[in-house]
Symmetry: C2
Subunit: 813 residues, 2 copies
């Protein structure tokens, strides 16, 4: 949703990234700028990514990204090139060495060394604690506000329904829910809880509150933190790939996203809090990074922390720390070294246990949906599970297409100009349609929880409305549950669920992408869970009425508890979520952590795998990649294989028709000539060659370094004038007697720029870019500098060729 307000990102194609010198801001040296208060400001993307060297833009080489993502080395250069003028020396490494050397000298320094070493772990601890606490707060507040739509606690308005009735004397759960302390709005206003009037009043109040929450949410987002909308995962993926969006992880975004997330969830819109929690955790991590020198100054290390924070987000969202780590590894992160694996795991655990000690669900459980199934599954059931997988895949593919189409309409038509109206209309529509149906009226997480639940004997839920065929003469607790014909209540529930399914499928398409925080996990899972439960009950009844048929004989005899509809709901939820996000292992592990039983991994995996294959057959992009492309972020998909047969020479610049590359020679240019060259272009860096004739590559120098060095020299160094020679060589030739002393600038030249030859196949070049995290690379031919290739050139080339290239078979994954 963020791209909307930025004219440069509106057209949604990579091409739009080109000629925007105005909103391309070379990354600031001071990282604190990212923390700048962007409330109400214009949304300029702080783009450190390179513009094509020959366009009107400028290219900028983030050496830090390259060296940093490779080994944590060198980002000192990025942060402040002047402090560390010699390329090839890395500040961070040096700092370690220094500390390590010092530590032998004194105990104080040893303690310093230990504290430095521990700072990473401390940071992880803090991220875990903060994210866990925030997630707990969000859960509690959202519960309270959601209940507020239905009624009020007379003991104290700050109690939610459940808390309000805790002190009640009623014994059964059902009666407890109707405790006298809690009154619906109809009771408060009209004094009665029955009848058409009461229903109408409740309906109206439900709508009023929903609209109020939605209005508040969208207004806050628009006024204070435009980045707070959406799920945030596409942007975080982009950020982790090396792009910088200034303020995206700042404190205003954090505050506003936390508040509006509560409001958006409470408003009853078809959205979840799980995706945005990832964004919240990343904001926490980014802000906490500023407490530690080691992370404040090092872009690459901070990205590792963000990877861990993504794991934390999923960990607190589902109470699944291992699943969270795998989610970060599989879905979010670009570069995930082992060190990050271990730290992510630690942070995810801390966060999960912080959340549990806050205990927002009131059940002392770690996980969002606690499920315990007793019956094993049978091999025959793989059939329906795979069917659910196909459904999930189809829905995922359809949803992505529909949602992207809708977002395009929003961008291209006047609809995009009225985000507040849009949110209000969708909220009103959702509220009006959702209220009459009890399954849509309840929150998404609550619905899923109920659908996952296996019916026990005491369960009063409509979904467990089985005919108690022989409840008195039945064997015991275990068998009394089994083998039940559906009763009237269950049939009614099924109809409501079917309607809820259609409704959820429709409304989620237009909800995701609005200017409120909105996650996709819960709505997707809800769709799948409904479909799964429907199928599960269907299978159950089929088994009951045909338990002598060939399929069911042997394992589904009367009296045996053979089909678990809750498991079907779970499998369906996994399938739909898999279809939308294309998560695989992490999804299965998250689900596994919910049940805690390895038994159910196989059904989950069969469904997830089928879902991914089916969805991939209709388009290889998951919803996050689709949104990344929609917003035109420069993101080089690490999963997809590059399918072109072109060579680097075809993609690099200058093209044949372009003017030649602007280069500096290592000697022979005067200060004036250099300044003229710099002035006449917008590139943020220049290759240095031996001479204009030979074009043999010496190194690469940053525009900024060049300008500052010349400036400093003119101010401080004696005799440096416009006619002074600029010398990049080690040993300058003896100057003529009458010439002014030369300006030696070898110190600012990066003597080890990355090069590939013009004959390198593009697939190899793309892989080098991905693996080394490059932003640009020089191209040589027979040792001579020929051109430059940037990440954006590659993205553009990929986008152009997208249509004509033969698609890899989806099964190939």
């Amino acid at each position: 949703c963020a791209g909307m307000e930025n004219p440069g990102y509106r057209s949604g194609s990579v091409d739009s990234l080109r000629h925007r010198p105005s909103d391309v801001v070379v990354e600031d040296d001071d990282d604190d700028d990212e923390m700048v208060d962007i409330a109400g400001a214009t949304l300029d993307f702080s783009n450190t990514d390179d513009d094509p060297p020959l366009g009107s833009g400028e290219y900028f080489v983030e050496r830090g990204s390259r060296a940093g993502s490779m080994s944590g080395a060198g980002p000192g250069r990025l942060v402040d090139p002047l402090e560390d003028p010699l390329p090839g020396k890395s500040k961070d490494r040096d700092r370690h060495r220094e500390i390590a050397n010092k530590s032998r000298q004194s105990t104080v320094a040893l303690l310093h060394s230990v504290s430095d070493a521990f700072s990473g772990w401390l940071l992880m601890l803090l991220v875990g604690l903060m994210s866990g606490a925030l997630a707990g707060g969000i859960d509690i507040a959202a519960h309270w506000l959601t209940d507020m739509k239905e009624g009020l606690c007379l003991v104290g308005f700050w109690f939610n329904h459940e808390h309000c009735c805790w002190t009640s004397n009623e014994t059964t759960f059902q009666e407890r829910d109707r405790c006298p302390q809690w009154q619906s709005w109809a009771e408060i206003m009209t004094g009665t809880s029955e009848g058409a009037l009461a229903y109408f009043v409740n309906y109206l109040m439900f709508l009023v509150w929903a609209l109020l929450f939605a209005l508040l949410a969208v207004t806050l987002v628009r006024a204070f933190a435009p980045y707070a909308c959406g799920s945030g995962i596409p942007e975080i993926k982009t950020i982790l790939s090396g792009f910088i969006i200034r303020g995206y992880l700042g404190k205003w975004t954090l505050i506003i996203k936390t508040i509006t997330l509560v409001l958006a969830v409470s408003s009853g819109l078809s959205l979840g809090k799980e995706g945005p929690l990832v964004h919240v955790a990343c904001c926490c991590a980014n802000i906490l990074c500023h407490l530690f020198t080691k992370y404040r100054k090092n872009e690459a290390k901070r990205r590792e922390v963000l990877s861990a924070a993504a794991a934390v987000g999923v960990s607190v969202a589902f109470g699944a720390p291992i699943g969270g780590v795998l989610f970060s590894l599989e879905e979010v992160s670009y570069y995930f070294p082992l060190k990050t694996l271990w730290r992510s795991f630690f942070a995810a655990l801390v966060a999960a246990f912080t959340l549990r000690s806050i205990n927002p669900f009131g059940n002392s459980r770690l996980v969002l949906f606690y499920v315990e199934f007793h019956a094993p599954w049978h091999l025959v059931e793989l059939g329906p599970f795979i069917l659910l997988g196909i459904f999930g895949g189809l829905w995922g593919a359809l949803f992505i297409r529909a949602n992207i189409a809708w977002c395009r309409i929003r961008k291209s038509t006047r609809l995009g100009h009225y985000p507040v109206t849009e949110v209000l209309v969708v909220t009103a529509l959702t509220g009006m349609l959702a209220y009459p149906n009890s399954y849509t009226r309840m929150g998404g997480a609550e619905l899923i929880s109920e659908l996952f639940n296996d019916c026990s004997l005491l369960d009063s839920s409509q979904l467990c409305g089985y005919k108690q065929s022989n409840s008195t003469s039945g064997a015991g607790v275990g068998n009394g549950l089994a083998d039940r014909p559906a009763g009237v209540g269950l049939y009614a529930a099924l109809w409501q669920l079917a309607l809820a399914l259609v409704f959820k499928m429709m409304i989620t398409v237009i909800t995701f992408g609005m200017k409120v925080p909105s996650g996709l996990f819960i709505p997707s899972m809800a769709v799948g869970a409904i479909a799964g439960r429907l199928l599960g009950v269907g299978m159950e009844q089929l088994a009951y009425y045909n338990h002598d048929s060939a399929i069911f004989r042997g394992w589904c005899s009367p009296g045996a508890d053979c089909i678990t509809p809750g498991l079907y709901a779970m499998v369906g939820a996994a399938a739909c979520l898999g279809g939308v996000t294309r998560m695989t292992v992490s999804l299965v592990v998250i689900m596994f952590e919910l049940t805690g039983g390895l038994e159910y991994i196989v059904p989950l995996m069969a469904a997830t795998m089928t879902s991914k294959w089916v969805a991939d057959a209709f388009g290889r992009e998951g919803i996050y990649e689709a949104h990344i492309r929609l917003n035109g972020y420069p993101f080089l998909e690490p999963k997809e294989e590059f399918q072109h047969s072109s060579l680097t020479a075809d993609v690099m610049r200058p093209r044949r028709s372009d003017p030649p590359l602007a280069v500096l020679t290592q000697e022979g240019m005067t200060v004036e000539e250099v300044e003229a060259l710099v002035e006449s272009t917008h590139y943020s860096g220049f290759p240095v060659v031996v001479s204009q004739d030979s074009h043999r590559l010496v190194g690469f120098v940053l525009r900024r370094d060049l300008l500052i060095s010349i400036d400093n020299a003119r101010k401080r160094q004696e005799g440096v004038v416009g006619a002074s020679q600029v010398v990049f060589t080690e040993h300058s030739p003896a100057p003529a007697d009458d010439a002014p002393p030369p300006l030696r600038l070898r110190g600012i030249v990066d003597l080890s720029p990355f090069t590939v030859t013009d004959h390198t196949p593009m697939d190899i070049t793309v892989d080098i870019f991905r693996k080394l995290g490059l932003r640009q690379c020089l191209v040589t031919h027979n040792g001579k500098l020929l051109g430059i290739i940037t990440k954006k050139d590659i993205l553009k080339h990929m986008a152009n060729d997208c249509q004509q290239r033969p698609r890899l078979h989806p099964l190939q994954l």
Copy 2:
């Protein structure tokens, strides 16, 4: 253990890798050669790794490794360079394109395309099935042989103790164990099961069988598959990093390792089957790869399959598929793309469920040690858990040092010449010392299982020998267990356990590294589990007698089940295994999968983390890295950061005193000159430069390609004689009228060799090597070719500098 027989590997230093042209075999084109029957043959390592260009060796550029590990592209060049003479085109990619294009044409081709796409999954399925089946077979056979040491089933000798007594009529478990069908050797031979004679006969038979098994194992290993010894994990790590050890994963190794593993485990030696199962799974994978063209011909793809197989191995070893995948990711694999993640997971699951359907443990459980704890843990208990972590770390560090020292002694003294004697002596020693103590007499896995077990009321184990203080007046099942004073039985058990701890600690050091298959997981875990159980019982008694003290008050009141000694055993096992292998996340996840409860993750993690930190403080290498270094395998540790401040120019060759690099010029050399150059050196590749003067780099050509091309040309092409010019340029100059026609060889030149500049800091160069999986890289200066740097140069440089460099603080991890 494998390095022992190879003279080149005996000295155990990287230096020894240099001058061995005799056993450096340039990788064969035909992969089937790896399947060659190596039974009884000499152990030559098929080393595709480069030798230094200026030594007597040869350097060899495995383009396939580079391109392959990068994107699966290009290994066609490796497999058969002549078939695909144009670098930059990748066969695999082309094959896809071809298939994708064809698939539009006919349905048959579409089916082919689908089957091609599915072949990866099919392969995974087969690997899972085969490994699971083998693991099941190994389990069953080992059970049977282990029981054979104690007695015989009269109903049929092929039954193990448990199966033999299944049909027995006895009702309690204890009596069942003493069913009449099963007779100890004393009963069979002397007719009595009591008395000193019977004990002596049993003791003797135990020893005889143990020696017989050990003898058989070591003889088989020596005679048929020397690679079958050890755990195999160090070698697999090395293979996955790009090194090839011919026959290491062949069918003979598989067969012999499977058989001898059973024998070694049954012989009662202090070793486990878990590590070797990884090797077995990798052998299965390697053999099954030969069924699929896609994998037979592609080294890089096969390595991905091997990564997945490592996951399968751990999955079947512990019944922990998720843990297995993380083990492969964390500990074994060098390059682990997401695709592999998903496939590993699939294969691991298939294997785990295959194993379960074989049901070797007879309990229908997936996991090796099924544990179910009921009592939660208290925050105070973190203290003892961390203590266990410290113990584990100390033991891990100590074990590694002692074991490596012992292995060095074995290598350097005459001991190494008598492997059979060594195995027999150690077996005899183990048997003699182990028999009197019931905890050492039982197998390692059985012991751990018993130590992990929580005492239930009906438990007759000695470890549960509590005084039944109020068994009749006690509340119920739940509380009857709690708060127990130790009885005489328990005290006796503790003494035995303490002795067993000392014994296990000692004997494992000399056992690991002998010439039998031997894993470390179980012995390490056993040591930790004993220590943990001892501490746990100690804590329990402390709590019982001091339940009013400040520490225990509130959570450990009389009647509450507050301390679970089994949990302590589990934490201790994790700590010791962590100390030895330095696994972290995967270890915690494996343990988590055993219990299935997220509750116990925190104790496990606290202990594992402490253990790793403590162990790292004494030496950063885990046991596998230590053995890799001991054997001198060329392995570039991906975890450790490179700490030198040197530049590439300092490490590359030629050094200043060396003769200049042997290069070809792109034109001007005659066939004779080229042949002379090739003959005079042993390098497996030559850079091509523009001219001897300019030294601008054009490309790189393989020795093999060069020789074959010239040979072919001489045979087939008219007029190619010794005086013909060899031309590597695109457009050759018009030859003089009288000159013979030139030989054009541009087709065999790799026009996109990797280059770095001489000023590149070594830490960046090392990272490029790691990330791109390079074996060598050309070094340029100002566009001119300066030298070459190989992986081996880097390893040597790292080894030389190892002493003087400042060590990174262990907490830094």
